[in-house]
């Protein structure tokens, strides 16, 4: 990478302009835990690396109104984990984010990097989709907003066009009696890539489910929002018959790869199991158990 240049952008405009001028040969640098590994191994050879961590908005956690958070794209896992209110409102997002790497990796890795890297197995992504999170994107033509479930286009591919940068992640205002959970299955317990990741986010009123979102990672070319599975949960008490049905819809939505980490049969079956377990965890969290 001898021809690489480095720019520490101070504003969103500066970053976006530099990226768009480079015509596809620039890369944004957040924590670098994906990008620097890819550069070192020669998989990526950007001519310009634009460091975005010094842009205030990208590195800020903001509670814009009571229980409503906007998290900057480059905020690290260690930093977000120190925000007691956020971790209380979104335990599923935090547990997904905190699964990424060791403490050293957590000191740098960001939600934005996990999302923009475009891996179908990025651990935070199903949790963000389940949360109903919105990506705020800045580009040469101004800002736009995209729900996370529409952010990925395929392995390594996202909706971001030349010059476009993820600025922050907007979480919906947290309703009371709601919680979320994320579980992943890996062949090893740590430092491994998910063969299935499952995020759920539910609201219960008097034991009846009034809102639900289910998302799966690593079982298709992109992380998925399982809309029909989410919908049949609403209006029910989430008893085991309903959860069997939801699990079956999850299994149907899977279109995984077959590899040494997990066969198609295995990944598909595990998706159903993780769904049930994560719903039970979210219910426990709502009930304060």
């Amino acid at each position: 990478m001898s021809e690489t240049q480095y720019l520490a952008a101070k504003t969103i405009d500066e970053a976006v302009t530099a990226h768009s001028k480079a015509n596809g040969s620039a890369r944004f640098l957040a924590g670098g835990t994906d990008l620097l590994v890819q550069i070192k191994s020669g998989i990526k050879k950007p001519k310009l690396v634009i460091d975005i961590k010094k842009i205030v908005e990208l590195n800020t956690i903001k509670e814009v109104s009571d229980n409503e958070f906007v998290v900057g794209a480059s905020v690290s896992g260690a930093n977000l984990n120190r925000n007691n209110k956020f971790t209380k409102l979104w335990p599923g997002v935090i547990e997904a984010f905190r699964l990424i790497g060791s403490e050293q990796i957590q000191g740098r890795a960001s939600l934005g990097g996990n999302l923009c890297n475009g891996s179908p197995a990025g651990d935070s992504v199903p949790a963000l989709i389940a949360a109903g999170c919105i990506a705020i994107i800045a580009g040469p033509d101004g800002k736009k907003e995209i729900p996370i479930e529409n952010f990925h286009k395929g392995p390594g591919k996202t909706v971001l066009e030349n010059g476009e940068m993820l600025v922050s992640l907007k979480f919906p205002k947290r309703e009371i009696n709601s919680s979320d959970a994320y579980l992943r299955m890996t062949p090893r317990t740590e430092m491994d890539i998910a063969v299935v990741g499952c995020g759920v986010n539910i609201t219960l009123e008097n034991n009846v489910c009034t809102a639900a979102r289910v998302s799966l990672g690593a079982v298709a070319p992109t992380p998925l929002l399982i809309k029909d599975a989410s919908d049949i949960m609403i209006g029910t008490d989430l008893n085991s018959d309903i959860l069997d049905k939801v699990a079956n819809l999850c299994i149907k939505a899977c279109n995984p790869i077959n590899d040494k980490r997990g066969t198609i049969d295995y990944r598909t079956k595990v998706a159903g199991v993780l769904l049930k377990r994560s719903v039970l965890i979210a219910i426990d969290r709502i009930k304060g158990n």
Partner: protein, 159 residues
């Protein structure tokens, strides 16, 4: 290709250096600043032997560009002892034989220091999780974990 000039603070001293845009922090520490305590073992964020503390956060210096250190505050293993007196963690690692070949040791010490800075009273589970990003091929970890827990205990008693 023009070099980048960086002003930073390492172990409470102002430091300036010139680096290539692609130089890692680890590379500059070891090969330019003669701070060879941080080790490069994997170079890919997996082993923790290059651990340093960057603005209070534990990071792998092999996965950081030297240019990123502009205006930051870095702590490396070289700054751990004070005036020739070993840090309590260093002393305890020696007493408990929590090292053998020593390649992983600077990384373990920096990670343990960052842990106690953030959480002075960790449980054994917390210590094991926190140190999961540091690999040792010699000791089997038990002695390291015990050394960290004993230092935390000593700190509690003297507090």
């Amino acid at each position: 290709m023009s070099k980048i000039q960086v002003s930073t603070n390492i172990n409470n001293e102002s430091v300036e250096y010139l680096c290539e845009p692609h130089d890692t922090m680890l590379n500059v520490l070891r090969n330019q600043l003669d701070l060879t305590g941080s080790k490069e073992s994997c170079g890919s964020g997996d082993c923790g032997s290059c651990s340093i503390i960057l603005d209070g956060e534990l990071v792998c210096s092999c996965l950081m560009l030297a240019a990123e250190a502009e205006g930051s505050k870095l702590e490396t293993i070289e700054g751990m002892s004070e005036g020739g007196k070993l840090h309590a963690l260093q002393q305890k690692f020696l007493e408990k034989a929590a090292l053998q070949c020593g390649i992983c040791t600077p990384g373990f010490l920096m990670a343990s220091k960052a842990l106690l800075d953030h959480n002075p009273t960790p449980t054994e589970t917390e210590v094991r999780f926190w140190l999961a990003g540091n690999l040792c091929r010699c000791t089997g970890y038990d002695k390291i974990v015990k050394a960290v827990l004993e230092v935390a205990d000593d700190m509690k008693e003297s507090a």
